[in-house]
Symmetry: C2
């Protein structure tokens, strides 16, 4: 009777223990699957949006001030991660940056921690090619059609055709597109439609395209530079592309060429550009990116009438946020499903 009584007493205890074990396993499974993703943002809307990508992640908004306190057990980081954060993030498996350019976290961060780690880096490449190419042509056409003169005249309600009209047509001219990626291909397509001959410069082998007459490697830049009527800079900023359009390259440019920079200011030499404009060799320049940014007050570039300066907004539009958030959400889903991420950066190449 003692044993049977004991059995009777133990039955509910055993059942309870099984239940406890089951619940513990459930909790563990849930805990194991719930990834902690830090997002560097002050936008509640963005956090909510990213959280909606998966119930298996916990999205935690951080700032530079509290990121270190949250990073030890984080599985992923969305934003401009620092080397110190990489070192403190022992569990980090994935870093997603908001921009296309990865030089900030790879080459200009002051450390190679991310570059030499096993952490997968993804970016927002291609996402912004459309509006950046629109912007590149906006700057070029403002110059080639002399719109700044008419804008000045408008302030005085002056309807006055300049004689001779200094504007040129793009048809039949040559466009050099340095960097034939997400931005460069969009520029090439537009340039083609304006009747331009498009020459690309890119380290990668590019497939044939009706919009590109030819693509040469960066070591052939010297050969194609003197042919170009418009030089577009749309390459990523890497140790190899740093200042690739230097003082010498500006001197190689054709007289009356236009220079348009829309990817990163680090790709060209600011003094070389100023010198080329000063000596009236260039017909004009449009720069959305400079080095440094902001372009300081008093910089000589401000003073040229034939220079369009915009404050790194080429990638802004009414639709870019949706595409950017879409890419990050896609990657969050892929991250929890253990699938390969999209827009993976080659951390050694830097793009």
């Amino acid at each position: 009777m003692l044993i049977s009584e004991l059995r009777n007493v133990m039955k509910p205890v055993k059942a309870g223990l099984w239940l406890l074990l089951f619940l513990s396993l459930c909790c563990f499974a849930l805990f194991a699957q719930t990834r902690k993703i830090l997002v560097e943002t002050d936008s509640d809307e963005l956090v909510k949006d990213l959280q909606s990508a998966s119930s298996q992640v916990r999205v935690v908004a951080v700032t530079k001030a509290n990121a270190m306190a949250e990073i030890a057990d984080a599985d992923a980081f969305v934003g401009s991660i620092t080397p110190a954060e990489v070192r403190a993030g022992k569990k980090l498996k994935w870093v997603q940056i908001m921009s296309a350019g990865a030089e900030g976290v790879l080459f200009k961060s002051g450390g190679n921690d991310l570059r030499d780690s096993q952490i997968v880096l993804t970016n927002n490449k291609i996402v912004q090619g459309i509006e950046i190419a629109d912007h590149a042509f906006a700057m070029l056409l403002m110059l080639s059609r002399d719109l700044y003169t008419f804008y000045d005249n408008k302030q005085h309600e002056l309807w006055q055709p300049p004689r001779p009209f200094p504007g040129i047509e793009l048809n039949g001219r040559t466009a050099l597109v340095i960097g034939v990626g997400g931005i460069g291909m969009q520029i090439a397509t537009r340039a083609w439609a304006f009747g331009m001959n498009v020459v690309g410069v890119d380290p990668e082998d590019k497939p044939f395209s009706p919009f590109l007459k030819k693509v040469v490697k960066p070591d052939q830049l010297d050969e194609v530079l003197p042919e170009a009527d418009v030089i577009f800079v749309s390459a990523p900023h890497t140790p190899k592309s740093n200042k690739m359009v230097g003082a010498r390259e500006f001197e190689l440019m054709k007289k009356d060429a236009y220079f348009i920079a829309v990817s990163r200011g680090g790709l060209y030499d600011m003094s070389g550009l100023v010198k080329a404009l000063d000596s009236k060799r260039l017909a004009g320049a449009g720069v959305d990116v400079t080095d440094p940014e902001p372009l300081p007050k008093g910089h000589p570039l401000w003073k040229f009438p034939n220079v369009v300066i915009t404050p790194h907004v080429a990638g802004r539009s009414d639709k870019d946020r949706a595409r950017m958030v879409g890419t990050i959400k896609e990657n969050i889903q892929r991250f929890v499903d253990g699938k390969p991420l999209v827009n993976v950066v080659d951390k050694q190449k830097g793009y």
Copy 2:
């Protein structure tokens, strides 16, 4: 002997008479072939250039002051001919206008003399499509990329991203091209390359083109107008197209559409445009053509920041003169050779 002496005397006389007859015939032939072409210009260079087209023409430069004195025996007239000049030019077989738009000599001249005559009218259609389409996009992109704000900031050396950035991307939006001719097709090609869906409006049956999603007749304008994000006006000015974009059409436009006019100011209603801008229905407008021209000081259109105004220069470029003179020279050669001229205007249609 008398007869034979007479024969001897007559021989040289007869030979002389034959020579005289021959020379007279030569002179007559030469005179008959040399056509007198009046050219309304003050440019010696243009006269020299056109004269070089054929030795069988005599190019005579005239102004409005002395054209009547020269026109009675003129075979052709290059310039903006008046009804009085048409009536005085009894021998006129051909009139070539410098512009593409023929409304000045056909509908706005105050007389139907040229329209109802047997005189062949040729124009410079197609010649200026390239640079006008460049200009149309220059105006549109200056607005869609908010370049006027940055131009203002530049005067203060202010590198300041506007938040939120008001610029939009053209990709995926709808362009309505009113008039799918020499200008309109160039606009359509560019719009396509920017990722736009292009809808044309034209009275003619147009061949299929990869750049045009569809082309509708002018009586279907009401149906397609509310779909358009950008409305380009690139049609010729005729009695049928006069004010075809009227107050009602501006009201049919989508909120935040852009209106771009590059052919003739007579095609749209200025007060309708001002009203649409005043009520903030349009996102902006770019007008190279107005009615009247010049746009008078004090006109309300001057005051909108989101309006680009250029003084009828869309057709100007570094290459348009060569194409225009080329077309006229081609026609001079064809005129003396009795071949059909190029760019013949349907004088009843007006284009």
